[in-house]
Subunit: 349 residues, 2 copies
């Protein structure tokens, strides 16, 4: 039995030819109809859609990609999927992308350059139309692979000098200023900062904004009270330990992210300190969980939805309309203070 014959008789997943045969049109007409070409007459279009429905047909995306050169696949690389900030970001990104007919390729670099290299390679192999690099780190050399192959990318907080690269600027300063102002208004004068790992752009920026905000509030920056942690709960635990060991500790601590703040909450509790009475704590991110810590965490909100939206928009533009006259290459996402229960006036000395 010939292949053609076999195709007709066996129950296989319908292809464009099956549809064309059923609708009694050419495969070109089926293609046009499905892709919304205006050149198809209503009469034929109707027949096509009917066949499509009846066969429960949908196009083979691989074949499509092969000929069109567009995969409608967007990559998203996150620093660590285990940090609650990122699943929330991924979820938003997925929603937006799917709503626009894109699929997403998720991968977690686990802050490991070797893994990141693999991630980039995977993205390249699957021919993504763009990649959102949400690692906040210094991995330009690795990303060159993407840039060299002309894959649009969008980075957070870092500008790459390439026409295919966009940047999302995160305005931490508004949120951090609000936080310091809030603390100062409460009467705090001694404020510490548990920073993120210095290999991350975001960590550096946040720390700088903290220093600036402190000065703007007329408060002194005490070097001892700025401690590099690693954006994990354990890091917060350790960082607070260091602060305690100093003997003279601040009455309030701002943390570079919520996980660190949660670590501080826990360390303070174990040290017999009451938050916020004995110590005020402020986080950054406003992960879902922040609402449920003990006490509920006052934090600087960085909207995952806004970030995901900006990232998608940057990539979509580059992917669909790279020659647009005034392509937006920079996006801004701002932050704001969410006051909950982990901040209060310092105890009288």
């Amino acid at each position: 039995m010939s292949r053609k014959t076999a195709r007709k008789s066996a129950a296989r997943t319908p292809d464009i030819r099956t549809v064309a045969a059923m609708a009694k049109v050419s495969i070109a007409t089926v293609s046009r109809t499905i892709n919304g070409s205006p050149l198809v007459s209503e009469r034929l279009a109707k027949r096509v859609w009917q066949a499509v429905k009846q066969l429960n047909y949908f196009p083979n995306t691989h074949a499509r990609t092969l000929v069109s050169g567009k995969s409608r696949l967007l990559g998203i690389i996150v620093e660590n999927i285990t940090n609650p900030f990122f699943p929330e970001l991924i979820r938003s990104f997925e929603e937006i992308a799917v709503a626009h007919g894109y699929e997403i390729l998720v991968s977690s670099s686990n802050s490991d350059p070797a893994v990141l290299t693999t991630c980039v390679r995977r993205m390249l192999e699957r021919k993504v139309d763009g990649v959102a690099v949400m690692t906040f780190g210094e991995e330009e050399p690795i990303l060159d692979q993407l840039v060299n192959r002309n894959v649009p990318i969008v980075l957070a907080e870092f500008k790459l000098d390439d026409p295919k690269a966009s940047t999302i600027l995160l305005d931490y300063s508004s949120g951090i200023h609000a936080a310091i102002h809030h603390l100062a208004a409460l009467g705090h004068k001694k404020i510490g900062f548990l920073a993120g790992p210095h290999k991350l752009h975001s960590a550096i920026t946040r720390e700088n904004d903290f220093r600036t905000a402190l000065k703007a509030a007329g408060l002194a920056v005490q070097k001892d009270w700025i401690i590099e942690c690693d954006h994990t709960l354990k890091g917060g635990l350790a960082g607070f330990g260091q602060l305690q060991a100093l003997g003279k500790r601040p009455t309030a601590v701002v943390c570079s992210n919520d996980m660190t703040a949660i670590g501080v909450l826990r360390a303070a509790y174990m040290a017999g300190l009451r938050v916020p009475k004995d110590l005020s704590v402020i986080g950054l991110d406003d992960i879902d969980f922040a609402e449920f810590t003990l006490p509920p965490l006052t934090t600087i909100c960085l909207s995952r939805a806004d970030l995901a939206h900006a990232a998608f928009e940057a990539l979509r533009q580059q992917a669909e309309d790279p020659a647009a006259p005034n392509l937006k290459r920079e996006f801004l996402v701002s932050t704001s203070l969410v006051v909950r229960g982990s901040t209060a006036a310092p105890a009288a000395r």
Copy 2:
């Protein structure tokens, strides 16, 4: 200028022909070499690999998929990526899959049947070689789409009567028995259970295992003390509220998952109860965070790595060797008790 000419001159991503030209062999030889066919002489293979390296070439997966019918893409659908259990599962699954040369397609159904339908459709469109359905729910009708198109699937705790469907049986009972035994040994006689939503298979199983374990320990099952929650922190909060409202509450509570337990921890704290002195709490999952709750959560560990491994193995088998003589269709993942600080002897009355 003809296309062929254009191809030669323009800097484009190298394809199999570019490699063949550089290595001075046919494209078939390149293909064979890359796919590890034993039919290629060392001499030619060496030339090919050299060209591959020099051009930084890698095959176009879409073209490969189109002709071979295998995408080397595995889908994973999780109930809710925002529940920390799932990112940890995804991370393991990603690691294993990538190590075996597969790519993964992640999607979160958010416990919404409509979204699940979309997820399934997306998987179908991208021609995945298999799907791990980690939703623990009753969505057989939706999964029919997958089964009908002959896509291998693996489910947790639910058997589908189809040769392409495998099941991962989760042996909660060992962990739950250990938990009850632990509690009983501590002197608890009044033990409640905050169940998961009854639409989930896992929730039902866990609850049944709880009842069984209670009886096995010679303890009475008090219906009032079994409350349906929703596997979220908020749900745990509410569930514990219901328990309190009863007037007469148990001295220990086992929860259907860790998030619920964390909710209980928080609710108990707000109600002025000390855990574990006034109330013992046990979770289930052993998410990373469980170690860091206040107090650290005693919980029943369900290994994400084991689960991911079983899921991958089930799919790999079906995808690569569906005709194997004794295909394993059932996998078992067990649970065990991790004792930390949220359990203690009940306070004397």
